[in-house]
Every structure is written in C-alpha cells, then in structure tokens.
Symmetry: C2
Subunit: 465 residues, 2 copies
C-alpha cells in the first residue's frame, strides 16, 4: 500500500504506521552514503519534510542502484516504519527500492545549494520541487479551500463571472485585447477602420479586470455570492507587487451596508488565517524561520485582535498630527500613500485597520455616495507590512445618482445599461470587496516577490510555461 | 434578525423558527390581493421555493404599500412564522413590511408568464431571478464545492495554471490571441512584420485551451493536483454544446496509471452526483419535473452502479455486430461518433462506460503509447444522453518516445522544452483527466443548452454583460 509522507509524519510517536510495512513514492532530495548504509531523503510534496529511508547495502540490487540514487530521481521504496535514532522522527528501513525515473546529477538544474528566486523563476517547471515553492503551493491551496469553506458555510453561492468581456469595471486600467482576427492581415471596413464584425465577438473584447459588476447581478437575485477567478491588468509594472494575471476573490452581499461589509471581511481574514495556522503549521514554521521572521506571530496576533475602524477624515487628522516627515505630505482629498498606510497600521494603531469613507473624487463611480456629499462608503483593509490587503465598498443603489456619477466620470451610459437596470428593478442596498489572492498569500507567507506565490507568473515580457 | 428563506423552509414542521418573529428580505415573485389580505411570495435566492407572506390590509402603511407591491420589487418583512392552512408549508404573518426598491410592473422584463431561454439570455442580468436559472446557480455552486471537497479530502492540491500562455496544449484548436498592441496602428519591424517585441509579453500570446501540461509540472513535484479554471476555444461553433469560454477541472496524479485514473474519475463523478442528491434535493426535483423528466433517476442509478470498462477495440467489435444502421459505419481506427457512444452507453451497457486504449493516430501526442504499438492509454467516460463527459489518459513518461511523437505530429520540440524535461529529471508514470464543468452541469440538470448553465455565456457574436 502506498502512503504519503504526510500521513506517516503526522502521527508523531504514536503513529499508526509505526512498525508497519508500507510503500512510499516520491523524489530524492538528498543521498548520504555511509559505510554499510545509504540514507535517502524522499519527498512526495505532501509535506515539507522528507522521509528518511535507510538503504542497507546488503539489498540484492544495491550495486545497480547506487549510481542512480541521485537527487531528483523518482523512486518507490517499501519497508518498515521505525523510530529514528533520535526517537523524534520516523524513518523507513527499506526492504526494497526501485528507481522509477533517473536524474542525471550533472545536468539537473536543482542542486543542493540554495538557488535565488530569480533563478528558480527560469525553471518554473522544477521549482515546485524546492522547499519554499512547495510550501507556497500548500499554503496557496489551503487559503483557496478555506476561502470556499468560509463563504459556503455562510450560504454564499460561488459564481463564475466572465473572463472575456466587452465592458470594463472601473473605466480605468489598461486592458488586454482578445481577438481572433488575423493581425497580420486585418479586415477593414470601407472607411478603412478595423472590421470588428469579422472578429469572434463582433466587437472589440478584452480580459476582465474584475468580476464585481457581474457579481452584483447575482447578488441582486440570490442575495450573497462570491467570485474566485483570474483577473488581468495590462499595466507595464515591473515590480515585486504586480502581476498581469492574478486571482481575485470578490464577495457581494445583498441587503448589506458598509458595516456588514466590514464585519464580513474581518471574519473572512481571521478565518483563513486561522485555517492556515491550524492546517499548515509545518510550512508556516518554515516561512517564519527562513523567509520572514515574525510572520507567524503577526498572523496569530491578527486572529485574536478586533480590527480598528477609522474614517479617512480621522486618519488624515492622525497623519497630520503625527509629526512624521512623509515624502508626500498628507492633505484631505489625497489618496493615502503606502507610507501613510504603514504609519497608520504599524505605528499608530498597531493592528489591522479598516479605513472608510474616502473622498468621492478619488474613488470609483459605483461606490455609494454618503450624505455629506463629499465622501463615499468605501473601505480599505490595511495590514502590517503590505498595507492595503482588501478594498471594497457599499455600492451606489440609487439610479439617478449612479447615472450622474457615470456622466461625471465620462463613462458611456449605454455600456452600463444592464448595471443601471439593477437599480431600476428591485434595487437593494449591497456591498462587497475584492481580495487579491496573491497579495493574501504574500502576506501570509512573507514572500517578498509576488511572482513567487503564483505557479506561473505573467508580467511584462514573460509568459513562459 | 434577518433569516433566509432556506433556513425557515428547511426545518419542516418541527421548525426552529415556528412561532418566532423574524425578518426576511428578498424580491417579490408574485402578489395576490384578496379581500382583507394580500399574499406576497418572497424569494431571496437561498432556495427554489418562496416564502408566503400574509399582509393584512390593516397594516398602518398598507394604503401606501399596495401600489408598490409588485413582482420584482425588493422588500423587507418582519413577522411571526406560522403554519399555513394546509399545514405543509410555513408562512409569515407580517407585522411590518417595507418596500426597499420599487419595480415598475409595466416595464419589468420578467413577467409572470414563462419566458423562453433564448429571451432570458438577452436579459442575463435578470435571469438568475427566475426559478430555472436560480436553480442552475445553486447546482453549479454545489458541484463546484463538491469538486473541491472530493480532491481536498484525498490530499490533492488545487493549482492555478496560467490563463495567458505562449504554448498550446494539444497543438490543435483555434486560439484567442491576447495583445496590448494598438491594432489600429501595429508596430512593424524593418522586414514589415508585426513587431512583437513591443507587445506585452514580447511574443504572441494566447488564451489557454487546457491547464494539463502545467498541471503535470505540479504533479511531478507534489504528487496529486487538480486545476479548476477557465479555458477557451475560438472555434466558430454555434451549437447548444459549445462555449468559447468554459471552466474545466483537470486532476493529475503522480505514480498513477490508467487504472488509477479510471478509479479516480468514477469515484469523483459518484461523489459530486451524490453531493447534489443530498444537498440540492428541491432543485433536482424541479429539474426532474419541469426540465428533464428522469434526470433524478439517472443520477441515482449512476451513483449506485459500478461503471463498465471496455477497450476501444472491444467497443468497435460491439458496434460492428450491433446490426444498427449508423450514419457513420464504424471501422477500427475511426474516432467514435456521438451515435456510437450513445449506442454503447444507452443500449448495450445501459450504464456509464469508460472506453480505453484508443488508436494512437486519433489521440493527442502526450498520451502514453501501449505496448501493442497501435493504441494509447486514453480513456473517455461516456454517460447516457450526453455521451462523452470526461476525457483523460495516462501520459507518455518516456523521453525518447515523447520526442518521437512530437516530431510525428509536427509540433516544435523547442516549445515543449520544459515539458520534455519532466521526463528527463525523475520522470514518473502519471495520469489525469479533464471534466468540462458546464457539460457536467448540463448532465446533472438536464438543461438542453450549455449557454444556460453558465452565468454569462460567450459564443460567436456574443460577449454581453
């Protein structure tokens, strides 16, 4: 019977597998040859730690084996699970061992030494075999599943909003165009323009920047929904914080205001952090030790602390009185810069804080205008180190005001006919937010570059693999 | 306290809410005015059935209310939950009722009468408010969550494979091109060709048709994975069975052969069908009654029946001896047509059947060649009514044979350098399959047109909403 390393390891000393004969399959991480034994570390990706296999040189096929027992080779081993000499770890005494796929140690790109993350990106087909990228994969998986659990437990429906779209959520941001036209020989109209009637969708189409507007459609029918899918930005941003393709989680709640929104996002973040603490302890200890010391403590603290809530206006007052020498001196009406956010969350409040009610001129058209006529019911969740982790708002549910805002921002009303009709037929107060999934993983793991928390990052000049 | 209709309905007679005062919020489906009462059916999307609210005309604001109590309006009602006259259904006696968002009955596109699905597609922003599309949304949600549960419970990691790609899984199928070039004024090289160095990814990029190849990368590091994301086909197919944008589930298992693959897909399908039977009974009764009589029975039967397994060669023999007058007479070497698949699954076996070991010339390059030199370890799962529901294979894990096959199919080896390296460094026997998610929903619900089982369908000429 094949068992995974995680199953063997998880039981500790009173392990169900202790003394039992089992088979394990995986890839060799390291080999140490002693006088009469070889020690082989086998990893199958189920856990960070490998299983030590003691290979007795008296095994009948040992002579053939030895030259192929190399880092990277895939093997199957059968033997008894016993306590190691230090009694802390279980190991296997192999009765048989088979090489499944050889690995030439001379050319294998993953050597025992530590590789830079930059280098690992060039071998994205092999990097999940490293400790760090393997751990990222498990944390990413856990955060995704925890996300589904959180919303499903609360009766939210998972909705797949479209990827290809002819409308653009915020009327802002650069888009990827999607076409089946032969760009080497574009069809033209009599007027010499591109003949989009020949394109697949018979008009220009783009990759979505957000599923929010379509999410609002479903919230306006089934009350509470969430999306979880890829979104795209074509900005030429070559930074550690931007991806051209990334995953977003966008809940939308009917009959909900900005306070319900804040309650939900706080509960959501605490739930997924607690899930990782409960289910990915070994990986988190790894990140805490080798990648971002203190990250475990930060998560634990957040889970146990009520988030602070403060209005933008109050936050600006705090910043003005801070005595800090900001690069961008703050003034009411300006968007908060990263330095401001970090001062608020790290120095002033020293805990996550939700900033609400931003000036309407710096926020998107769909946010609900407050009664003061100057602000909108927007919210940003700020956390230590990364700053803004989540953005959201109550949505404008009044038809006349929404039409005015579209006009004010120069957006064509015709493009939003269906969005406006949601306010015409049984309009509801509703609210939602967007979580950049990679930003969330980056926060949880403490990984520095966002390109290392997604399996195959897309950024300017790079869509390999 | 706001409760959802599903919570009230789910308890039956011994309901926790019976005799309690609660608040419900949702949209009016119908209003019937009697002499001294109005009966309002409120639906909030949490369940198929609505809650009947008895509105006494003695309510202080009744006179104002009455003209706005229209189908489509959003309301909040507070009152006691009591047994209806027939004692079968619970209803609410309203103490107060508030119109939240009005709905003009003259212009509201969703009238009481039955609308065609074609018409409803033109109002995709309102159609989830109908019985059928609401039920589809709940079934779709349940199948998605059940999918995650199935794989998570078995230690599979959820992997997000890329949407934008420069490699194409099967070397076949029409692609959507993704670009940030200004198509009205394309940059050109000295030779007059399009200067892709100016494009976002500095080379032509496309929307993925499958995450399989990248899934194999992760299986070759962490053993068992699954993907669940959007995929794209630019074929100009205007049928009830094709979408340009659809979601796929693609598990990939390390140290697994075609038999493990068959075991897994059978367990997967039974798990998700059972989940829907257990969790979506009301919606399934609806589909069984109004959309596809017998669909409930079909699911129940499948869950309790071992799938048949038959080789392609055996299947061809059955078809040859069937005495049926097929439009396409079958011969070894041909791909099975829909009529053949339906004969096998509906007439001959009368249960789901997995056909394996297809002729290598009609299958993709990555499938493992069998020892007979003529067939590959492919598998298709056939089910009643829809035919092929899932396709999969054991993958070719021998470097030399894979290189040969690429060459034979005229695919450029350089494009697959990383895919080939998986066979060079610790290669493993592995297998996987792909489930078209919309096809799965179509099968479960019995909905005829695939455009009605995805929130916002994309097909030739249409990317609205």
């Amino acid at each position: 019977m094949r068992v995974k390393v995680k199953q063997i390891k998880s039981g500790g000393e009173k392990n169900a597998f202790l003394g039992k004969e089992v088979t394990v399959k995986g890839w060799i991480r390291t080999v140490r040859n002693q006088k009469t034994f070889s020690f082989v570390e086998l990893n199958d990706g189920s856990s960070l730690t490998s299983l030590q296999i003691v290979v007795d040189q008296k095994l009948p096929n040992y002579a053939e084996l030895i030259s192929d027992l190399n880092t990277g080779a895939s093997i199957a081993a059968t033997g008894k699970i016993v306590e190691g000499v230090d009694k802390k770890q279980l190991e296997m005494h192999a009765d048989s061992l088979e090489i499944i796929g050889k690995c030439d140690p001379e050319t294998y790109p993953l050597q025992k030494k530590r590789h830079s993350f930059e280098f690992l990106r060039t071998i994205a087909h092999l990097r999940p075999r490293t400790n760090t990228l393997g751990a990222v994969a498990r944390i990413r998986n856990a955060l995704a599943y925890a996300t589904h659990q959180f919303f499903q437990d609360r009766g939210f429906l998972y909705v797949h909003t479209p990827i290809i779209t002819t409308s653009d959520c915020e009327g802002a941001g650069q888009l990827f165009q999607v076409t089946t036209l032969n760009v080497d020989n574009l069809p033209k109209t009599k007027e010499g323009k591109i003949d989009y009637s020949k394109d697949f969708f018979q008009k220009p189409a783009y990759l979505t920047v957000s599923g929010q507007l379509e999410g609002e459609i479903y919230a306006s029918a089934v009350s509470d929904i969430y999306t979880f899918g890829p979104t795209f930005r074509a900005e030429n941003s070559n930074t550690a914080r931007h991806l051209a393709e990334f995953w977003m989680i966008e809940p939308e709640m009917a009959f909900a205001d900005i306070n319900d929104n804040m309650d939900n996002v706080e509960a959501y973040l605490k739930f997924v952090f607690q899930y990782v603490l409960d289910n990915c302890r070994e990986d988190m200890l790894f990140f805490n030790k080798y990648i971002s010391p203190g990250v475990l403590d930060t998560l634990q603290k957040i889970v146990g602390t009520p988030f602070e809530r403060a209005s933008y206006t109050y936050a600006v007052r705090i910043l003005e009185k801070s005595g800090e020498n900001f690069q961008f001196p703050i003034k009411w009406g300006m968007d908060l810069q990263s330095e401001h956010e970090r001062y608020l969350v790290e120095k002033f409040f020293d805990k996550p804080v939700i900033i609400t009610d931003y000036p309407k001129d710096i926020k998107a058209f769909y946010m609900k205008e407050n009664n003061d006529g100057k602000t909108v019911a927007a919210m940003d969740v700020l956390v230590p180190k990364v700053g803004e982790l989540v953005g959201g708002s109550q949505r404008e549910d009044r038809l006349d005001i929404l039409e005015e805002k579209l006009e004010r921002q120069g957006l064509p009303k015709d493009n939003y006919w269906w969005y406006l009709e949601l306010r015409k037929y049984g309009s509801i107060p509703h609210a939602g937010y967007g979580v950049g999934f990679e930003r969330l993983i980056r926060f949880v793991t403490g990984m520095e570059n966002i390109r290392d928390v997604i399996p195959f990052p897309r950024y300017p000049g790079s869509a390999e693999f």
